[in-house]
Symmetry: C2
């Protein structure tokens, strides 16, 4: 039987998980999906995700794919998988895709959102989905700093130490900072992300917002390629993968 390649889009609240990628020390999204697929198809499957997400990081629309020789209808797959998954993981859609589609390697861009609650008192409904930063941030300075990050740069300064990659050059095509009722949202799109890159960009924008650095320091920070020159790594729970993009569909 020829194997089909099925692309799924899912949403998850990462609070209770050790990230997407299967690991020994805790329950992960990948493991839950693989177990659900095995239950409904009777066949072991490997789920390929569009990227690792850290423990506590969420996904609004995460793309994954798996190969199966099961004849289950693609249309019925979301409901069937959801019946086997915890309520904090929901499969939104499923689609047959060409054999060579790979959620991670076929991705041409990804968008992440980072939320900061910048109010004297935490919002109880956002405590698991944001960074509580009570000290007043200057959003205009954060916006000015964000502008300096857009473009193709060597982002070595914005990568967690000890993450081997062949190149640290990435293109950030969009980086916006907005604020509403004391909640700051940072939305960033790039053709790829280094390990912890969004969380370090966020920490650096927060440094700009509280005056620890100036927006015009950004080019020098980037050129330094030194992790210690950028800001702190923002905590995981404020981060959500919004979308992974592909040439087709």
């Amino acid at each position: 039987l020829e194997k089909r390649n099925i692309k799924i889009e899912l949403m998850y609240d990462g609070t209770e998980y050790h990230g997407f990628q299967r690991q020994k020390n805790g329950i992960t999204i990948q493991e839950c999906l693989e177990n659900a697929i095995e239950k409904i198809t009777g066949e072991a499957a490997v789920v390929y995700g569009c990227g690792r997400t850290d423990a506590g990081v969420h996904a609004i629309c995460y793309t994954a794919n798996f190969h199966t020789s099961s004849e289950i209808s693609t249309e019925k797959l979301p409901l069937a998988l959801n019946s086997q998954l915890n309520e904090d993981i929901r499969v939104i859609s499923a689609k047959d895709v060409p054999e060579d589609f790979h959620s991670r390697y076929s991705a041409v861009a990804k968008t992440y959102i980072y939320k900061i609650v910048n109010k004297p008192v935490m919002d109880v409904f956002l405590s698991k989905y944001s960074w509580f930063y009570p000290q007043k941030l200057d959003v205009d300075k954060m916006k000015a700093a964000a502008k300096q990050i857009v473009g193709t740069h060597d982002f070595a300064a914005f990568m967690a130490a000890g993450s081997p990659v062949s190149s640290t050059v990435r293109e950030v095509t969009d980086l916006t900072v907005s604020e509403k009722d004391g909640v700051i949202e940072i939305e960033v799109t790039a053709n790829g992300f280094l390990y912890n890159m969004v969380r370090i960009i966020t920490g650096t924008l927060v440094y700009a917002g509280c005056g620890k650095i100036l927006p015009e320091d950004l080019p020098e920070i980037i050129l330094s390629k030194e992790r210690t020159c950028a800001g702190v790594t923002a905590p995981p729970q404020g981060l959500s993968l919004k979308k992974s993009f592909y040439r087709e569909g």
Copy 2:
């Protein structure tokens, strides 16, 4: 020492609580607040809330007040109380008010919000804050039905059985239904609410949205004064108290 009367505004995620009002069978918001006040003032206090909220119901801005002879600064009170409260209850503000102010009896109006996720798949971030209703609802019909409810009426049909009150007449001054990305929000303001009134209004609007009743049936349902003529009681977790209004401050 003369007692001060302090009004506090708070926000809470009601998921883990048996409502606002102190009771024997479970932990309540009132109990948590009274314990926190006793810890920081060294004085037992009764906290008066602006209304009962059921188990699982939330508050975006709930008003309460208590009397104290403690000399603690009103300004420092939110931070002090928050240091003693669970993260899912946050005191937003505190203010000295006249002796006769009572959160419940001085309230001239209250606004509630009810959220319905009307999509084929539940939103994982809203599962504790909404009613998951996957069958497509006709929002225009819900809006038309809502218009019929606005006004001064005997709302006996919209009250849970066995809740003795002297009058079941209330004035609904505002009732709006809006929809965005499959999330329906019902916002209702009245000079007072009967027990379960918002949840029964919501259930009745859902009946209109799925065609079980017609918008033009509403006047007759109201006139019937019969609970069985109105819709189901919507589940508690979709409901949040948005605000309680007072003549002053």
